[in-house]
Amino acid sequence: MSSYYEASARERLQNLLDPGSFQEFLPPSARAQSPHLLQLETPAAFDDGVIVGTATLGGAKVLAAAQEGGFMGGAVGEVHGAKIVGLLERALDERPAAVLLLVESGGVRLHEANAGLIAVSEIMRAVLALRSAGVPVFVLDGGQFGCFGGMGIVARLCDAVIISEEGRLGLSGPEVIETTCGVEEFDSRDRALVWRTVGGKHRYLLGEAKEIVADDIAAFRAAALALLDAKPDLSLDALAAEHEALGRRIERFGSAADATDIWRAMGLENPEKIPVLEADDFRAATAGRRL
């Protein structure tokens, strides 16, 4: 087992993709750094916290981007965002089997907030344009910082999310909600509550993550390989079906106070035991029940 959660973005790419196949675009030696951070006397990284490049996965050509949570929580700035946009546009030219986004991000980088927000919207537009052109985009979410803010929206724009139990996916992070609305709204230090609300298991049960895997890079690799044949579908029928499902979710669970209430309503036995189950047991216990 090689922990995805503990690994750096570079280690994830190295171990996820076919050995030795990854070639980086605009590598650290190109020094595509954020001038905005340096202007604010804040240390900047040579890759601006995201690694983009090409590789093979099971022999199939893919393009991949990996955000480094250890640098500013993976937050998106101008250069960081532009690297991802450039990768997605390159995929329009090269038509790889898929684009993999190894997300780990708190969202927009405040030091360059406007540039970051615009960049996220450009990533959104680029993902949608690429999927419209028939190239699937897959998201891997299992890092220490989770996937929040605009990147949380980006993740749900893609063809599928592969998540680990440790992975988190949402929009406003628990700390942000607590700071703004008070601890009674969301106690960000209650780890069990945080994981029940935005953690991998709940995302999987809601159908937002297509696969849930153990915290193991090899497990992420296997899940990504299994998805490679998927084809994007942004048709009216597909979106109408998604719309219906999202409407049902509000009707059924809109007044649920906690994830366990939702899990109970889904017909899962012993919902309070869900958080302690290992990945395999969890999948078995929830088979046929999730949305």
Partner: protein
């Protein structure tokens, strides 16, 4: 500007817009034909319901009025901050809205965004920033976060942020900053109906904002870096 005045000025010939709480939808007549109107009022926080309603309307327009232009008039203080919205997967609802707008774009609907009051952070991201072209009224407010809050979180002195914001459009609130950076194509003054028609005529489904940001000198790296990645050999 309040939304009723806005609608009168955008669609002086005729408009029929219904209000449901903070949500609005309907249509307005322009010299280029009828436009669909979708939006919100009262600086609405965008939660799962509002995103869902807007997405449903986009799907209805695609189904019932093929090719009709869509005007987004979204007044938002940002995403709704609540544990309940997170529990339901609010990011997925916003992504759904974005996908519906992309479907409309793919099917030939032009999409114009007009920030007439406020656009903040995630609420902006989920709405007007997804338009083919986004515009704003000159007194509109656009931001991610105000400088005092930004100073607290980044631990950078407020005075320093304020000083730098005089020259850099990169982080401080302000509609002009977003114009310089290319995300807001222009500010609408005078005859709003004429501005809307000009926008409809000019709208392009390609995302050219990096280019505009570079031309206007407000965002010098995005275009260059994305191109270097796209063509890196």
């Amino acid at each position: 500007m309040d939304v009723k005045t806005l609608l009168d000025r955008l669609f002086p010939q005729n408009h029929d817009v219904r209000f449901d709480g903070v949500y609005l939808s309907g249509e307005g007549e322009t010299s280029r034909g009828p436009c669909a109107v979708i939006g919100s009022i009262d600086a609405a926080p965008i939660g799962v319901e509002l995103a869902f309603q807007m997405a449903g309307e986009v799907l209805r327009i695609v189904r019932e009025h093929p090719g009709r232009a869509i005007v987004l008039l979204v007044d938002t203080q940002g995403q709704r901050l609540s544990r309940r919205d997170e529990l339901l997967g609010i990011n997925g609802y916003m992504a759904h809205l974005a996908k519906c707008l992309q479907l409309a774009r793919n099917q030939g609907h032009k999409i114009i965004g007009l920030v007439y009051s406020q656009a903040v952070s995630g609420g902006f991201l989920a709405s007007s920033l997804l338009a083919d072209r986004c515009y704003a009224l000159p007194d509109a407010e656009v931001r991610v976060m105000n400088l005092p809050a930004m100073s607290r979180i980044t631990k950078i002195a407020l005075e320093r942020l304020e000083a730098l914001s005089q020259t850099s459009p990169v982080f401080a609130p302000g509609v002009e900053n977003y114009v310089r950076m290319g995300a807001i194509h222009g500010l609408w003054e005078g005859d709003l109906a004429a501005r809307l028609v000009e926008a409809l005529d000019a709208a392009d489904s390609a995302d050219l904002r990096r280019q505009w940001g570079q031309q206007r000198g407000g965002r010098l790296l995005a275009q260059d870096v994305s191109k270097r990645v796209r063509h890196y050999a």
